[in-house]
């Protein structure tokens, strides 16, 4: 039993924390929180050197994990990037890299993975639009076509994509999209689409989360070669969803950790009625509760990374637990942090709203808490016999 990070992972954490503190502290985002772009590809390329995009990519394609547990390595990074509210497409790049590495064809892996690993290009996962991540919510149709131009030249069978995918993180800067589409009879097809494809356009959504940019990506008769289908159908989507849930949970843990520490620190300095407000038991007990929630978030996220990465039998329950708890707890913590800060927390200049806004996004992307709770109940039901002791 060793449910904790090892020395190599601690070192990875330290390296990324130092780099981010120097190059991208939260304060550095301020000038761009209202700008159309906030993502800095230069920082991303440096991050790639620190392993941000490499863990789930095999060594032959320029990747490689730190330990034998790439998802646990990535959890370290997710937490660190969350701590500084990093605007980069960490989840999208790793989800697409994972799909290509696990399910992609050789040529697909060879074509796209090296640039992703190097941080030279970024990728986005286009799941769906509104509502839960389910088949019926997919709004991109794939119609079979012949005489589609292949990327390497020549023509052959392929698809025509029409429809829209919304709230795609960094959809306006990604070079590569993994698009979930519905073919004939609602068969799920996962297609790799380069940004340069004719008929693909994107629009950045004016958003609640000021630390990241989400786009509406429109496919208007986009032609995609059959060679660009990542085989596996909805199973690929499920896997992507699980990886995304876990990494997003890590992001929430890191961000929550920083905001909680800042809140504790502020309350120990703020004096009212001649004493620090942290000396009031009403405040202390709220902080104790938040400390417990934070610990709960942490173990839920980290166990999910371990279980999913190592293929435990209870991986589906572990991922659902992270999804059911972490996003909502993060959002709750942000609300408490704001309230405990009082008036200063209500100002634009204070960072608490940046955390709170990010929490609101993490709470609803890749299935909200209620969706994951329903999944968890189904898993428990399936494991519960009709009678007798469990």
């Amino acid at each position: 039993m060793d449910f904790g990070f090892n020395e190599e992972q601690d070192l990875l954490r330290e390296t990324s924390r130092r780099f981010l503190a120097e190059r991208q502290p939260v304060a550095s985002l301020r000038p761009r929180i209202e700008a159309p772009d906030i993502f800095d590809p230069e920082i991303w390329r440096h991050g790639a050197e620190l392993g941000w995009t490499a863990m789930l990519i095999p060594a032959e394609f320029g990747g490689g994990s730190l330990t034998g547990q790439p998802l646990v390595d990535l959890m370290v990074l997710a937490e660190e990037l969350g701590r500084v509210l990093n605007p980069g497409p960490f989840v999208g790049c790793n989800v697409v890299a994972d799909a290509l590495a696990r399910s992609g064809r050789d040529l697909q892996a060879k074509t796209y993975l090296p640039d992703l690993a190097a941080g030279a290009t970024t990728a986005a996962w286009c799941l769906s639009g509104d509502g839960a991540p389910v088949v019926s919510a997919v709004e991109v149709r794939a119609t079979a076509e012949s005489e589609v131009e292949a990327e390497g030249g020549g023509t052959g069978d392929g698809w025509r994509l029409d429809g829209v995918s919304r709230y795609v993180h960094e959809g306006s800067s990604a070079a590569l999209f993994l698009v979930v589409a519905l073919g004939e009879g609602d068969r799920v097809v996962n297609l790799l689409v380069p940004r340069t494809a004719a008929g693909l356009s994107s629009r950045t959504v004016t958003g609640l989360d000021l630390t990241r940019r989400f786009s509406e990506v429109t496919f208007d008769g986009v032609r995609v070669s059959a060679a660009n289908e990542v085989p596996g159908g909805w199973d690929v989507v499920e896997r992507c969803l699980a990886v995304a849930t876990v990494l997003q949970a890590g992001d929430s843990v890191g961000a929550a950790e920083v905001l909680f520490a800042a809140t504790v620190d502020y309350l120990q300095r703020r004096v009212q009625f001649g004493r620090t407000i942290a000396s009031y038991q009403a405040i202390k007990h709220r902080l104790a509760d938040l400390s417990m929630e934070l610990e709960g978030m942490r173990v839920a996220a980290e166990y999910a990374a371990l279980a999913l990465g190592d293929g435990f039998d209870d991986a589906p329950e572990a991922v659902a637990t992270a999804g059911a708890y972490v996003g909502d707890a993060f959002s709750h913590l942000c609300g408490e942090a704001l309230q405990l800060h009082g008036g200063i927390g209500f100002t634009w200049e204070h960072d608490v709203h940046l955390f709170s806004r990010r929490a609101k996004a993490n709470q609803v992307l890749f299935g909200d808490g209620s969706w994951h709770r329903e999944r968890l109940v189904r898993l428990v039901e399936a494991a519960t016999g009709a009678t007798g002791e469990a």
């Binding site: 039993m1 000396s279 173990v299 980290e302 166990y303 371990l306 708890y325 709770r373 519960t384 002791e389």
Partner: protein, 395 residues
């Protein structure tokens, strides 16, 4: 990172089989009905039967690590704990908290005379810590031991002592030194048959009698019965409490969320089974998540303990998390039963013979005992987060 508990090798199958046959041969049939929590039999005959059972297990060579000084084979210990719990009757009689104190602070002679006797059911122990005016503020306890020759003469009153009505020995904290607070407290072994001790069983909200009041009217306790040194009682109690808290949690009856799913299948809500109701499902989903997180908190604490990185907030976090979840699970089970939740043990209408109603009432023992959850929150805030300590008033 790993959470593997090594599988018990097949070579231990014989150990398990032999243990099972010993348990099967000696497991008593009791009049006393088993309930969730730390519960105490109400009939002397049942207590005697349990003593005979514990003795048989001990005489066959099976002893838990907590009752001996050298550690046993870890696989055998795991099998022993599994099989003894599966037997469904208590295998430890009394409150065994003193075993940690004796192992860490007792003399060799004390260890030799008391530890095996607990294991073989010969000595039933009770804990004599809390007082009517010293609950959360335990260092304010007022039971006093006054030195008189080779003895201390103890005067005072204790409360919330489980098993005291059947106890042979007590693990007592009393004030012996002329200083206030924790430094004045000494830990003693007390023979519960000493003249001057009056045990009065307390009936609790469950309707059962699992705790007692204990009165001390000039009770003579030999100075040789001190555990550790004079004035060390608080330190000793803290050390044994920490050891005890690591064992809190779990509980019989399998995964509690699966049990709730079964309750929800078997009761109606609106036009269908409760399990089909969206609000019910959401609530069960959240409880399921919190229940799994409880397990992961335990795995994290075990890891921190092995690495020597335990923080003051860890045990209280786990205690609050578990006790509040446990309470909510029983409340949920009652809510799912609807009006039927009014029927309790012994009534033909009751569900699972009222086990959930009893569990609901008893759940408050866990949110209060072992340090109330409010005190636990103070510990997290003050010792975990470094916030200012609560101001102390006059005693």
């Amino acid at each position: 990172m790993d959470v593997d508990v090594p599988a018990i090798p097949e070579s231990y199958d014989r150990y398990r089989a032999a243990l099972r046959s010993v348990i099967a041969a000696h497991r008593p049939t009791l009049v006393w009905r088993q309930r969730a929590g730390v519960r105490v039999p109400d009939l002397a005959e049942d207590v005697e039967k349990l003593r005979v059972y514990a003795r048989a297990i001990y005489d066959a060579g099976y002893v838990l690590d907590r009752f001996r000084t050298e550690r046993g084979d870890p696989y055998e210990q795991r099998i022993l704990e599994q099989e003894l719990s599966a037997a469904g009757v208590p295998h430890i009689l009394g409150n065994p908290l003193v075993s940690g104190a004796l192992r860490l602070f007792g003399t060799d002679e004390q260890r030799a005379s008391y530890l095996p006797a607990i294991a073989r059911g010969e000595h039933i122990w009770t804990q004599l810590f809390s007082e009517p005016d010293a609950g959360s503020d335990l260092t304010g306890l007022r039971t006093r031991g006054t030195e008189d020759g080779d003895d201390f003469v103890v005067v005072g009153q204790k409360v919330w002592s489980t098993w005291a009505q059947w106890a042979d020995y007590g693990y007592l904290l009393a004030r012996t030194e002329p200083v206030d607070g924790s430094g004045g407290i000494t830990a003693f072994v007390v023979d519960m048959r000493t003249p001057g001790i009056d045990v009065r069983p307390l009936r609790e909200i469950t309707g059962t009698t699992d705790f007692n009041e204990v009165f001390f009217d000039e009770v003579r306790v030999p100075a040789s019965n001190i555990i550790g040194a004079r004035g060390e009682g608080w330190k000793i109690a803290q050390a044994s409490l920490i050891e005890e808290r690591s064992g809190v949690g779990g509980g019989a009856g399998g995964d509690p969320i699966q049990r709730l799913v079964r309750v929800a299948r078997q009761h109606r809500r609106g036009d269908g089974a409760a399990i089909e109701d969206g609000a019910v499902r959401q609530h069960l989903g959240l409880l399921a998540a919190r229940s799994r997180i409880q397990r992961h908190l335990g795995q994290r604490i075990a890891t921190k303990a092995a690495r020597g990185e335990i923080s003051a907030a860890d045990a209280p976090t786990s205690k609050i998390w578990w006790s509040e979840l446990n309470l909510e699970i029983s409340e949920t089970a009652l809510a799912l039963q609807g009006p039927r939740s009014l029927a309790t043990e012994g009534d033909a209408l009751s569900y699972e013979d009222g086990r959930w109603q009893d569990a609901f009432l008893y759940a408050r023992a866990w949110t209060i005992a072992g340090g109330t959850n409010e005190i636990m929150r103070n510990v997290i805030a003050e010792r975990g987060l470094g916030l200012p300590r609560e101001p102390r008033g006059q005693r």
